[in-house]
């Protein structure tokens, strides 16, 4: 698993470059952020399978139309915490209900299995929508959209700084890591490994702090007086209206399905 994850670090900035244009790009960033937020709210609070599965279906449609690399997307979805996977596997056995089968005196229940499946469906639906609607925009566009949505200024700029320097610092990390490798260093389960990684991490911190000092200096040199600025005009166009109305109708349907089930 670690190999796969280290790989996603390399593709961090590659994400934007590998990006394939699609009609989703034409939709206003704010609309995409708000829609995915509402989608998450509705799907996660769904009690039943039908709305959750419909949500997942919609998520797949969005993934398809945003031309995401399916293989890579699935790998990211699968990269769930090991612990969460365990939790989901354990659920059938810990939930009381109608028995499916019994192993070692433990009874798996249908209710538990459904619950576990429901969690999996919901989690994946939300992630896929996020990937197709939000992760397809560059991180700086996301920052601008959040600023327009009245997220506190400092938070937005914090995010922009982070996005900006993630790449620089990860390059530094990779170089130092390579230099360690070149001296026959292999990660093992022992104190030497942990100490070395601790040193590496500490050194990375120090170099980053020194860089932060230089950035502050550079800002001073350009007359920085305690304000950051963002420049962009975001306009709601026809596509945006059409998309949000369609999407909201769909969400309405999901809510309706939930309520409808209640009356049964």
């Amino acid at each position: 698993m670690s190999q796969g994850l280290e790989h996603s670090l390399t593709s961090w900035s590659g994400q934007a470059l590998k990006h394939q244009a699609s009609w989703i790009d034409d939709i206003d960033a704010r609309v995409r952020v708000v829609c995915s937020g509402l989608f998450a709210l509705v799907v996660v609070s769904s009690q039943y399978f039908v709305p959750a599965l419909l949500g997942l279906l919609c998520a797949f449609l969005l993934v398809k139309s945003s031309k995401l690399n399916i293989k890579r997307t699935l790998r990211r979805v699968v990269a769930m915490d090991l612990f969460m996977l365990m939790l989901i596997c354990v659920l059938p056995f810990t939930t009381p209900g109608d028995a499916i089968f019994t192993v070692f005196g433990l009874t798996a229940s249908w209710q538990g299995l459904f619950h576990a499946l429901l969690i999996t469906v919901k989690a994946n639906a939300v992630l896929l929508v996020l990937f197709s609607l939000v992760a397809t925009m560059s991180a700086s566009t996301l920052g601008h959209a959040l600023a327009h949505l009245k997220v506190p200024d400092k938070l937005v700029h914090l995010m922009l700084f982070m996005v900006r320097y993630l790449d620089v610092i990860s390059q530094e990390y990779k170089k130092m890591r390579r230099a360690m490798q070149a001296r026959a260093f292999v990660l093992r389960t022992n104190r030497h490994t942990w100490k070395s990684i601790g040193y590496l991490f500490g050194m990375l911190l120090i170099r980053s702090v020194e860089r932060a000092e230089r950035i502050s200096d550079a800002m001073k040199c350009r007359g920085f007086c305690g304000r950051y600025y963002l420049n962009d005009e975001m306009k709601i166009g026809r596509v945006d209206v059409v998309f949000s109305v369609t999407f909201l109708c769909f969400l309405g349907l999901l809510i309706g399905l939930n309520v409808n089930d209640l009356f049964r």
Binding site: A123, L166, W194, G202
Partner: protein, 202 residues
């Protein structure tokens, strides 16, 4: 450590979100605009820490290092971790959107607690002593985090209780590793650039 969407009950989600908002608010209050580059850069380093996978038997664990972040940033750890976790959800799919509040709280609150517990110890003039405090902070943060994760699960339903009980033992190896790594990191910073730790973050 990343709980996924759909697992927790709404009261837990809402409580987590509210507390996180409060924490972020305090953090933002304590953070000047002048500090933004520093906080942004440090947050990136911690983001990268979660990519450092260390082998453990047949599997591997990744570093969290929220204790050290808390020691360095105090309350500012809240906004820093919120942003880091948000980026992880969106671009890598770790965790979920609605549980963001709970996830942030579970990682950032221990960081703040460790800040208050280790504030003095880490500023000890002996590098070794400071590093021991760092190790306790690093390991302690993991303990508190896993306790909080366990509670958020257990409060969400009877069927999660078993899993919640398993959280703590599952995190003991991570705790030990983080302790050692934090020890080395603090020792290095203390020897190489003590003013980084000893001067006040804000």
């Amino acid at each position: 450590m990343h709980i996924v969407d759909g697992a927790l009950s709404s009261p837990v989600l809402i409580t987590g979100a509210v507390l996180t908002v409060i924490g972020v608010f305090i953090g933002l209050k304590k953070m000047d605009y002048d500090h933004l580059p520093l906080v942004g850069v440090l947050a990136s380093v911690f983001f990268i820490a979660s990519y450092i996978h260390l082998p453990l038997g047949f599997s591997s664990v990744h570093l969290i290092m929220n204790g050290l972040l808390g020691i360095l940033l105090g309350w500012v750890a809240f906004p820093a971790l919120l942003v880091a976790l948000l980026l992880q959800v969106i671009f890598f799919g770790f965790g979920g959107l609605l549980v963001l509040g709970v996830n942030t709280l579970n990682i950032a609150l221990p960081a703040v607690i460790i800040y208050y517990l280790c504030y003095r110890g880490i500023r000890h003039e002996s590098a070794k002593v400071a590093a021991i405090w760092g190790a306790m902070g690093g390991a302690g943060a993991i303990i508190i985090t896993s306790l909080m994760v366990a509670f958020s699960l257990a409060l969400s339903g009877e069927s999660f209780v078993l899993a919640a009980k398993a959280v703590l033992p599952a995190h003991i190896p991570i705790m030990i590793i983080e302790g050692f790594v934090s020890y080395a990191a603090v020792y290095l910073i203390h020897t190489v650039k003590p003013e980084f730790i000893t001067k006040d973050a804000h």
